[in-house]
Symmetry: C2
């Protein structure tokens, strides 16, 4: 270590952080030497001693989903500005991996945790450890209502209602829905929002108009589209719980020679980049993933730095917007 080349260990430490009780000359010399020796402080040791790691752990399903990586970008932006590092753990939507990730995070003494739950997860004991050990925990998007924690979400119910009412406003009378896994609150809420919109507008609510999927994959979107197309009285609008399935629906509809939006209008959810590429471009809900990430990061950092706050739980709801594109721009709209 650097100390042996000059003097004592504590002096080095203080010099490196420009502590006032160390002389100017000494301080400068130490910095010089550190430079020359290519010295890197061992943060393991420092963190151990200080009992603070400046680490924010993030547990998410998959990094290669646009929504998730946008949220992470938001988290990172806020965190790094505040002097925190972000370490990412993927659950791959597996409960076991999520549990393992939580264990690792506990072991690595993260100062705070941000999580978006895996599809499979319906037991939350592995996350209790954070609560029990006073490490701040913030959920976003796929949150857990059974646990009393801070959350960042969007109003999925309202957004779904908005999307469905948009379909109604352009004249759709029979509106179908491609629903996500009903274990997950956000997908339940989107289904409910869809139903509520129908109810308020006195439109048909038939069970067969709802296609339940496992994971809203493209394949399932195509299957849903086929089912809808084969129905005797075919729906004229579809609200899908994500963009991937919505795009698949569009493609499948077109494959059969029908027109989007004229024969069937389509609305997605999330405003991923592909929604701009598909033809016709997809009307969708912009869920502001980046902002969700920012809010979650700010929230967790506040908890880290002001632990005395007695807020048991706080929920932030991020704005969402309906982005109208061609997939719901009926040419006959003006004629109506």
């Amino acid at each position: 270590m650097a100390e042996r080349l000059k003097v004592s260990p504590s002096t080095i430490s203080r010099a490196l952080q420009n502590h006032p009780s160390i002389g100017k000359k000494m301080t400068q010399e130490v910095h010089k030497l550190a430079e020359k020796l290519g010295y890197y402080p061992n943060s393991l040791a420092a963190n151990l001693r200080r009992n603070k790691t400046n680490l924010i752990g993030v547990i998410i399903p998959r990094i290669d989903r646009h929504f998730q990586s946008s949220a992470i970008s938001g988290i990172e932006e806020v965190a790094s500005k505040a002097g925190y590092y972000v370490v990412i753990f993927q659950s791959n939507n597996s409960y076991e991996r999520e549990k393992e990730n939580a264990r690792m995070l506990m072991s690595s003494q993260a100062d705070g945790v941000i999580a978006c739950l895996a599809m499979e997860t319906n037991n939350y004991d592995h996350l209790l450890a954070f609560k029990n050990n006073n490490v701040p925990l913030v959920f976003f998007d796929r949150v857990c209502y059974e646990l009393e924690t801070h959350k960042v979400v969007i109003d999925d119910f309202g957004a779904a209602m908005k999307a469905t009412e948009h379909l109604i406003s352009i004249g759709c009378k029979r509106i179908a829905h491609v629903a996500g896994n009903q274990q997950i609150a956000i997908f339940r809420d989107r289904l409910r929002g869809y139903q509520e919109a129908l109810r308020r507008n006195n439109l048909a609510q038939e069970d067969e108009l709802i296609y339940y999927t496992e994971d809203l994959s493209g394949k399932e979107g195509a299957l849903a589209a086929r089912r809808f197309l084969e129905m005797p009285s075919r729906p004229d609008g579809v609200f899908c719980s994500n963009d991937t399935s919505a795009i698949s629906v569009i493609q499948e509809v077109k494959r059969t020679g029908c027109k989007v939006p004229d024969d069937m209008a389509v609305v997605g959810f999330s405003n991923t980049p592909v929604s701009l590429i598909v033809e016709p471009a997809l009307t969708t809900i912009d869920d502001h993933a980046f902002e969700m990430g920012q809010a979650a990061a700010r929230m967790v950092i506040r908890q880290i730095e002001q632990p005395q706050e007695d807020i048991a739980s706080e929920t932030i709801i991020i704005r969402n917007d309906l982005v109208v594109r061609e997939s719901t721009l009926k040419q006959k709209l003006t004629a109506d």
Copy 2:
């Protein structure tokens, strides 16, 4: 700590890792107690003592690019199977951030590092620290030829040649190129591959057929397309150095009423998901990002675990494939 509830500190440690020199009964009791107390070993302390973190640091430009996140998925798969954790640092293509990331990685005592260089980077001193301190370093994709390290790449030159020759094979005579930042080796190589294909087939090599971009963004793709379309003798084929710009080219060409591929065939690079969504679907080079990640991870782990190996540098070249889709399926092809 758990020890105070029973006996000595070392016994606990050994019991937790099922060391043979600890009695069955004792071992079981310790595990039980750990369970009950919700005990999480402090890996900071353990790592400090063992001088091994099981951490692999990854420095990449941006997590929300499909190529990068696929590569990370590959890295993670291999790493986690081998008992390593992956911690991700984004450079946002900024040299300063990359330097900072490298410093942090050095401080956190990562066992190995995998890096994909930022656009801005053309000085490599910050990465020398790894070499100097014997922490294995593997580059992938955007590698650095000035440093003697292990690398995982694809044959960008060959792939570009393959792509361009494919355009030639479908009858294109005037082939343009949307080139990436020429500071980066891979984009230089792709340009060279394009040129070589033209040379070998005795086709026109005009400077104005090459459109140089800063970052191959969608916007730049559209600008390139416009330039090409306005040329007196319009190119009938375009090879773009990435998918984003290629898709923009397709959209812009269509916007002006021209047909892809009949008026202008388009080839991209990377086989991102959007290449399947755009119409016509994009012919592109599949660069096997996931496999690159896997290979890089295997490579760095091998170096970590077999430090005696005297291999100064090794380069792995991952297979790449041309994926032919409608953007180069000329209907007149059979007529030719």
